[in-house]
Amino acid sequence: MHDAITVEKLGIPAVGVMTTRFVSAADLMARVLGADGYRYVAIEHPISSADEEALDAEAKQALNEGLAILSG
């Protein structure tokens, strides 16, 4: 979340990718960093043990949701 906000502050639109388990912490962090309500992509947790097929599907989802976030 911190890095995504940093990129936004540098003037480049950023899509943060978080896992579902991190969502409440991510929302809090966004608020603390001055970006209350910041939109990002939430993919299934965990990723460390997910297989490549599952990660591929998550990546596709991230792209689609990311495009919506990028275009506002």
């Binding site: 990718v17 947790h45 990546a59």
Partner: protein, 92 residues
């Protein structure tokens, strides 16, 4: 003898700021990826790169942080100005 001392109180939260301008399409654009390098991110971002190019991105630049618990290092943020959009993750 004078001494210089520090303020122990809360430094204040970040002020609200305007988000970066939006991007209507990825066609011909440069997209940067900032990965925290944790387990699972490599295959995820490899797939993402594939889908970004399918969506029209001309170039995908990939950076992996040296320390996944710390903010992205200066060498990465220095490259951001060369991108049109970024994907950053994975927060878990």
């Amino acid at each position: 003898m004078s001494i210089e001392v520090l303020d122990p109180t809360y430094g204040g939260g970040a002020n609200a700021f305007a988000l970066a301008g939006r991007l209507a399409s990825l066609e011909g654009k440069t997209v940067g990826i900032i990965s925290n390098g944790k387990r699972g991110t490599r295959p995820f971002f490899a797939s993402l790169e594939k889908y970004l190019k399918q969506a029209g991105a001309a170039r995908v630049v990939w950076h992996t942080k040296a320390n996944y618990s710390a903010p992205a290092e200066a060498s990465i943020t220095a490259d951001v100005k060369n991108w049109d959009a970024a994907f950053v993750g994975i927060g878990d």
